[in-house]
């Protein structure tokens, strides 16, 4: 994680900020399906947990969780760090994410991760994230992502487009 003062948004203030971020995590059906949890927030940093589940195994011989789960987890947590950094939190969309897989996650253990939005501009936020079991010093995977901010969401926009 980078150093320096994290950018602060409305989500970083007030006692119920953590609850609002947790509600954000629950808002995503895929986040619910994976059982993703928010543990802690601090400025534009967020800590989360992805519980170990047998249905998420990617290698049946070893019981190691699928890389795709780590991808989704880091993408989601990184997006939340971007939202935390915004003065007026709205929705964000991933522009790109690059993930380095250092090793397989330990079978049977929950994966933890932290994401830090280290730079935010008018249109784009930059986030680093790392996944691990015990300590970021022994990472499972590292991510660097860019997010487009203020994606003006028209409710049901994709439903109309899907029909054409």
């Amino acid at each position: 994680m980078g150093s320096g003062d994290p950018p602060k948004g409305d989500y970083g203030k007030g006692g119920d900020a953590l609850e609002r971020v947790r509600a954000m995590m629950q808002w995503t059906p895929q986040g619910r399906a994976l059982g993703l949890q928010v543990m802690k927030i601090e400025g534009a940093k967020v800590w989360g947990r992805a519980p170990y589940k047998a249905e998420l195994i990617g290698d049946p011989e070893t019981g190691v969780i699928a890389g795709g789960v780590i991808t989704t987890f880091l993408d989601q947590l990184s997006g939340m760090a971007a939202v935390l950094a915004m003065r007026k939190p709205t929705t964000v969309a991933t522009i790109d994410i690059r993930i380095d897989y250092m090793r397989g996650a330990e079978p049977g253990r929950d994966v933890l991760a932290e994401a830090h939005c280290y730079k935010i501009g008018k249109n784009v936020a930059f986030v680093r994230a790392v996944a691990y079991e015990d300590s970021p010093d022994n990472p499972i995977a590292n991510a660097a992502a860019a997010f487009m901010l203020n994606t003006h969401v028209k409710m049901g926009a994709n439903l109309r487009e899907a029909k054409t």
């Binding site: 808002w27 995503t28 059906p29 895929q30 986040g31 619910r32 399906a33 047998a54 249905e55 998420l56 195994i57 990617g58 290698d59 049946p60 969780i65 699928a66 890389g67 795709g68 789960v69 991808t71 989704t72 987890f73 880091l74 993408d75 989601q76 929705t91 969309a93 991933t94 522009i95 790109d96 994410i97 690059r98 993930i99 380095d100 897989y101 397989g104 969401v153 028209k154 409710m155 049901g156 926009a157 994709n158 439903l159 487009e161 899907a162």
Partner: protein, 136 residues
């Protein structure tokens, strides 16, 4: 060459592929992974849009499966790194992905993949990655 049935059973052994609901179609040596739409794949319920991580996971699965076919190796390669570019939001419809093995070295393979929905010419995401080739 891994036949369709062998490929399907290889995928069926991966619990996470079942969690996503992925199914494989093989024509010659070209693989298409199909991800039928399901509510639990959504990342943004307002639009609604597929979760970016799910689309990334689909392309990664496509890449390692195509790599197993191209290298005539039953074992799946390990992912070293991937880069995913998101081009359009994923609509609540079926998604397809294909991968192209750019190079297989002695230890490392370079693979590109694309995901699309209605039109092949309008990809919703692109991926490139490096994979540690499994010992046969």
């Amino acid at each position: 060459m891994i036949a369709q049935e062998r490929l399907t059973s290889a995928l069926a052994r991966i619990p996470y592929a079942g969690f996503l609901g992925v199914r494989a179609e093989l024509k010659g040596d070209e693989l298409t992974l199909v991800l039928p739409y399901s509510e639990h794949l959504v990342g943004n319920p307002l639009l609604p849009a597929l979760h970016g991580g799910v689309v990334g996971a689909l392309m990664e699965l496509t890449a390692i499966t195509q790599l197993a076919i191209s290298s005539k190796n039953d074992k799946f390669a390990k992912t070293i790194d991937i880069g995913v570019d998101y081009l359009r939001s994923g609509k609540p419809i079926d998604t397809y992905a294909r991968a192209r093995v750019v190079k297989i070295g002695r230890r490392i393979a370079n693979v590109q993949a694309e995901a699309w929905q209605n039109e092949r010419s309008q990809p919703i995401a692109a991926m490139h990655g490096h994979f540690l080739v499994a010992e046969p």
